[in-house]
């Protein structure tokens, strides 16, 4: 069997298209690359969707934390503390139990116990908490001059926020937010490691890597392959976020643009 045929059979296996049964014997390197790559679809799915949904929630949370009203601030602070203060691994586990209980109370919640929705929600809440802290820190770091300039233009309230504060906040937060995005993509590998079951062998990249490591009894091929995929994914995230960051800073002179540094940032 050529590698092209393998690709046709297994490239979309993780979403249920193609060969029904996974390879059982005579494993080739090509099969491992294709299937593990296929699993990457789920990592992308979880990463992209939770990042998008979490972005909006994070903005709301950051604003809530920045307001004077304790009715908004306290819950936001509590939410951020719980999700930033505990390991995602344990959050997945507890979320799974919670979703199970909800399902037993009312069958409407049945999809929640499945990874595609339940894990997605957990990841969204998790990244929202981290991003909210980043945005909050950035909001507090907005230069006084920007606010004074907005006042001088007669801007106030919502339009001042939308046209002056928010863009500056995003610019300041962007390097740290890029890191958060990278960590989030890495965190998607935990989805099938606690609680949530893999259905019909439709799993993420790590699931297929573990499958091959188990079947070939050799951890030194499949795991390095998935590691390689993640290095590429990380580079892609840096590329995309770098492009957005440049766009956010396009009005600034080249020398004053904040440079992206990949690593846990100061106010993550």
């Amino acid at each position: 069997m050529t590698c092209g045929e393998t690709f046709a059979q297994y490239a979309l296996r993780s979403i249920g298209i193609g060969e029904k049964l996974l390879p059982m014997a005579d494993f080739t390197l090509c099969q491992q690359f294709v299937l593990i790559g296929s699993g990457l679809i789920w990592n992308l799915y979880f990463g992209i969707l939770s990042l998008a949904a979490g972005f909006f929630l994070a903005n709301a949370l950051a604003l809530a934390k920045a307001t004077g009203s304790p009715w908004l601030r306290r819950p936001a602070e509590g939410f951020i503390f719980v999700f930033r203060g505990s390991p995602l691994f344990i959050q997945f586990f507890l979320a799974y139990f919670l979703f199970l209980a909800m399902k037993q109370a009312n069958p409407v919640f049945a999809p929640l116990t499945m990874a595609w929705l339940g894990a997605l929600i957990t990841l969204t809440l998790n990244t929202a908490a981290y991003a909210a802290e980043i945005f909050y820190g950035a909001l507090r770091a907005v230069p006084r001059g920007d606010i004074e300039a907005a006042d001088a233009y007669g801007l106030s309230g919502w339009s001042r926020f939308r046209r002056v504060l928010w863009p500056t906040m995003m610019r300041l937060a962007w390097p740290a937010y890029t890191n958060e995005a990278i960590f989030l993509f890495h965190a998607t590998t935990l989805v099938f490691f606690s609680g949530f079951a893999v259905l019909q062998q439709k799993g993420d990249a790590l699931y297929y890597a573990a499958y091959f490591a188990d079947k070939t009894f050799n951890p030194f091929v499949a795991y390095p392959i998935v590691a390689l995929y993640f290095i590429l994914l990380t580079l892609a995230v840096i590329g995309v976020f770098g492009a957005i960051g440049r766009r956010l800073n396009r009005h600034l002179p080249k020398t004053t643009r904040p440079r992206f540094r990949y690593g846990p940032q100061y106010f993550r």
Partner: protein, 294 residues
Amino acid sequence: MFSFCADPKSLEGIAWFACYLTSGKHLYFYVSIGTVLLLLAITVPVALAFGFAGAMAARSHFAPLSILGRIYISAVRGVPDIIFFLFVPIALDQAFEWVRHKTKCPDWTEPIRRGADFVVCPQAKLPLSSSPQWVHETYGFFLAVLAFAIVFGAFSANVLYGAMQAIPKAQTETAEAYGMTRRQVFRRIVVPQMWVYALPGLSNLWMILVKATPLLFLLGIEDIVYWAKQLGGSKRSIESEYPHGDWRLAYFLVLLVFYLGMTKLSEGVFGRLYRRLSHGQATMAGEEQRRGRA
């Protein structure tokens, strides 16, 4: 533990729980909290050392060293820690045994790799197969520390590298004007001052490190997650004198409280440390302290 625990079947209510929560298995659970804390305590300095070495290498003027440092920093951070832990500790173990094999048994003619097997001469085994159990456990612990240190060393290398670059240029230039060599500038000016710039990043890293410890069970360490799973699973009378249903939820809530407590505590400690380090520094926080006192 208690004398009335001899026959758990006759117990009820508080007495049952008193005996249940002090069973040998639970004592292991409590001890494993110590194991996690010990691992953290050992990993931090080792990871900082790795990080320091990595940052120095990346800053080096010797191109191959600099490239090596940069590859270490970016490759390790590009890989999710869980994947790293799934194959690197076994690889490290085999690498150590291979080196020992080459030095201790040069006359050994049989191949080391036989099919799937990795066989070194008995003297090269790590630990020796005749060693008592605690030696094996200590060695496993050492491998776990090393794996954590490699991952978090890469992250801290990045933070320390940034901190070294953040020292105001004027200071290093002044030092050079006084005739200090590059090495002296590094030792006398850069290293003492870099910590205040590194602290926010390092404190953040500490939080990430704490939250990575649930992955210890992947490294064969019997950590709190291992025992919480063991204890929480439903028990039938054949397995345990304290049969019960699925209590994993309760045990994971305990873990949640443990980690939240750790986070709260760390935040307090780092807040203090930061105020202390900012003293007399040319940063906003240092400036505020100065003005506050004046």
